[in-house]
Amino acid sequence: MISYLLRRLAFLAGSLFLAGVVIFLLLRTLPGDPANSLLAVGASPEQIAAARHEIGSDRPLPEQFVTWLHQLATFDLGNSFISTLPVGPEITSRLDVTVPLTLLSFVLAVLIAVPVGFVAAHRSATWYGTLISGISQLGIAVPVFWIGMILITVFALQLGVLPAGGFPQDGWAEPGEALTSLALPVITVALVMSASLIRYVRSAALDVLGSDYLRTARALGSSFGRAMWRHGLRNGAVPVVSVLAIELATTLLGAVVVETVFALPGLGSMLAQAVAQHDYPTVQGVLFVSTFAVLVIGFLGDIAQRLIDPRLRGRLSGGAR
């Protein structure tokens, strides 16, 4: 397990480096000069040259790349073109919204999906088993922003029980207020997320319920609950955990859209705004931080799988391959 951990860590570090290269190359090699976004239309060539010099886009690519790596290593992500403030601290303050949003939605989605998915598998022949499958099939096709809009309409505008959007100015100083303003976004994300999770839980549970070891345990006199607890849970958890890691990463990134719908000052709305303003340092900073998060989540998912199922420990990455 230790040697596995070390190898997996090396893979993580390598992936991070590659991610840095990909972000750098994509932003630099695509047409369009970042200097243009600094200036108004009709700037003179001298102004453009000065702007290029200021942000360093006139230097050769390898030199720019070394600068970018140096920035990453020192956690200095540069200054925003628009606000001229450093990107790093801005990202940290935005995480106060995005991280709770992601984690709360994730927990709620798991709390919905695991029991519902299990019931859908256990009672697959009944009408409600079919109904659950049907709803989750529909759920994965509904765009997250549409659910958000409908929830806002019903709960915020019609019933007036929850705020339609926004986040308290002083953040988590008033935990109750902050939680209330996150309520609708969390429900929105959790609903969409649980729709796809239910399908995985259901199919994992179907595998377990039809397995020989469960039948053997029952034949040996174990009660259904005990057999599921001792044998079913561990076996069923492996595929679900690999999906969970992917879903958690997706949620983090789905935050882009959800935060825009609910006007939340999170990482996602920061990225959307930066993209619209061609604010390169902010775009690459946010992208690197979110890719970092996605890679770390994948790492934790792989570790969790191997803790649950010793049979996987020889393999480097992924249980779902």
Binding site: V22, F145, I150, R321
Partner: protein, 315 residues
Amino acid sequence: MSEPTAMESTKPTRLTKPTKLSGPAKTDRDTGTGKEPGTAAGASRGRRSPALVAGCVLVGLIVAIALVSLFWVPYAPDDTSGGRLVPPGLPHLLGTDKLGRDLLTQLMTGARIALEAGLGAIAIGAALGVCAGLAAGFATRWLDDTLSTLLDVLIAFPTLLLAMLMVAARSASLGTAVLAIGFAMTAVIARLTRILVKRVLALDYITAARTSGTSWPRVITGHVLPNIWPTLVVNLAQQFGLAVMAEASLSFLGLGAPPPNASWGRMLHEAQATVFTAPTGVVAPGVLLVMLVVGVNLIADGLRDTLDPTRRRTR
């Protein structure tokens, strides 16, 4: 999407040597179902898959709307003469939006844009992804390792982020959105292709074909591609749904096709403020979007059941 004979193409797990066009005089490949004498029966059985039929109806409706919009729409997309926020009725069947544009017109052109986005992204993703996957699948060990690590990292980049990165570097347009979504898809398709290729290459009949003197190009066209395409097609159908959704999300964020192109995502964004005065503007594009994505997913499920003989029993 295919001639009926190809539907019978064998799974990699079969040990019989498959041929691309297996004729009706087939052997006992479908022992699981046991009652399929020939391809015709297999094909008609496939057509009866309820998921496939339902999916085709839903997608067919959207395609029909898009086709009609090519030749006729009730009003010009930027015609604002009808007055703002007219309720549904005559002469504006679904009413108008806050700028006075006809909603039905926008919905119809939106159908076309959604389909264009999906098809365009799939074409790019499939062309690049299948080639990269084949290359990785056939490559020597170190090259394969390098490529698959690269793919793992690229997969960590979700579609929407990659698309936003490209929109940041270029400008917001349908072309940029489609290109970005297609690129983002490439990694997923390449990884799947690589796994499928590896699986097929490990089988005995490939060794048999090679030892009996078949050239690699012939092995690819005659054995590898026919064995991997059913799974690939199902995956591409699923990716199509994701691409449509990604385009809608980008447009919703204002990073998709600029006006006067009516994208469902942008319509939803614009209608958000007037949800009480003109609820049709929120409901109608959403319903069409869901119809298209559900339809495509149903087709994917139906195809999987039809193309994969081992799944027929479990259904």
